[in-house]
């Protein structure tokens, strides 16, 4: 290929400079910190399930499931939660069972569930969403008693000034979950199947790490010859 004036301009523009001093030491320090801190909740959560769905999630304690179907759902929730906390999942597909909760709290939690991964909404947004704009305080109380945190993302509800506000599992954990979601990619493609999925899709879970490509949008992936997954339908979710 003959090089023209544009090639020369681009070569000058992209010319590398030496690595900044101390880069390796900073990365090694960050790696030690990651290994020291570990996963949120130490990756350990107790899950209670009915045959209809997940009833409760709490750090520590014992898991409970009253039937074989409930045990299967609890196991599925455990897998999905572990993936979410490790930054490999952006949505939950395991069902929740809120039937024992008062109607108002169910509506509040359903509204919280509509907040997209990695985003946040104020308490007033939830109150508007359920048609009770003046019930902001009651919304806060209902969220504080969320029996299935993480799967129903009450941590995505924040104060109107953008600060995280309170959280049943601690304000520090709320900030950590926000940081986790901010750092988790949304879309990944598999180089062998040329399919793009939401991170956490069943198709993507079979993907070898070496075949994983991150995309910024489904449009970008399509432009490179990838097709959208028919299981997780990333375009509809984006």
């Amino acid at each position: 290929m003959t090089r023209d004036r544009l090639d020369l301009v681009l070569e000058a523009y992209f010319r590398p400079t030496p690595a900044p001093a101390g880069l390796a030491a900073r990365v090694l320090a960050a790696a030690r910190e990651v290994e020291r801190v570990g996963l949120p909740f130490g990756g350990r959560l107790a899950i209670r399930a009915s045959a209809r769905g997940i009833v409760g999630i709490a750090p520590g304690g014992r898991s409970e499931a009253s039937s074989a179907a409930a045990r299967r759902l609890a196991a599925r929730a455990r897998t999905e939660l572990a993936e979410y906390l490790a930054g490999r999942r952006t949505f939950f597909s395991v069902p929740v069972d809120l039937t024992s909760l008062p109607a108002f709290q169910r509506r509040v939690l359903q509204a919280a569930r509509e907040i997209p991964f990695g985003e946040a909404r104020p308490y007033a947004w939830v109150a508007h969403r359920i048609g009770r704009p003046r019930a902001v305080r009651a919304v806060g109380t209902a969220l504080a008693r969320n029996p299935v945190p993480l799967v129903i993302p009450c941590h995505r509800v924040v104060r109107s000034d953008g600060t995280p506000g309170e959280y049943a599992l601690g304000a520090a954990m709320k900030r950590r979950l926000h940081a986790l979601e901010e750092a988790t990619p949304r879309l990944e493609g598999c180089t062998s199947t040329r399919i793009v999925c939401r991170v956490g899709c069943a198709h993507g879970r079979r993907m070898r790490p070496a075949n994983r490509i991150v995309f910024a949008s489904v449009g970008d992936a399509r432009a490179l010859g990838y097709r959208a997954c028919r299981i997780c339908r990333p375009a509809a979710a984006a």
């Binding site: 681009l10 992209f14 590398p16 690595a19 880069l23 790696a31 490509i213 910024a216 949008s217 010859g225």
Partner: protein, 172 residues
């Protein structure tokens, strides 16, 4: 086994000296790619640091049939593309072109940065890899998991947009 692969084997065994040598070998090139993609020095350094962190923590998963450079560029471009998504979301438009950097000593460079910002995201990634390290079509295809023909068409499209923008400004 070449030196890069030997280094990766030692990094997987948590040899900090080997990791430092790997960073010295590739840090400058990775930073040059990230700098042009992300436009700000702080975002670029952060992306390179995160890419090397993933390299260190995931070294045991490195497969020697990949060249180490291919593997590192794959990790870095995954990090940068996700950061570009965040930048676009912060600006409120998922596919809007990024702003040119606020400060640059060289006015020519500023125009070039602005023109580069008009190139579609994935073509920008390929152009950066192509011109920082002189990578061939096959390497680029492997890094982004696409066909060689797609690499060629994306590069041609990106260069066409750059040429038009720079011609208009009288810079070519």
């Amino acid at each position: 086994m070449d030196r890069d692969r030997a280094l990766m084997r030692d990094v997987a065994a948590r040899d900090d000296a080997a990791f430092t040598e790997l960073v010295e070998r590739y840090g400058g090139r990775l930073l040059a790619v990230a700098r042009r993609l992300l436009q700000t020095e702080a975002d670029a350094e952060d992306a390179v640091q995160r890419a090397f962190l993933q390299c260190y923590l995931g070294a045991a998963g490195y497969r020697p049939e990949f060249a180490v450079s291919t593997w590192l560029y794959r990790i870095l471009t995954n990090v940068c593309v996700d950061e570009l998504r965040r930048q676009a979301r912060r600006r409120g438009a998922a596919d809007a072109a990024p702003p040119a950097p606020a400060r640059d000593a060289d006015i020519h460079r500023l125009d070039l940065a602005r023109a580069f910002g008009r190139v579609p995201r994935e073509a920008r990634v390929l152009l950066a890899l192509r011109y920082v390290d002189g990578l061939g079509y096959r390497d680029l295809a492997r890094i982004r998991g696409i066909s060689v023909n797609t690499v060629k068409s994306q590069l041609a499209r990106g260069k066409r947009i750059l040429r038009r923008a720079l011609d208009t400004e009288g810079l070519l």
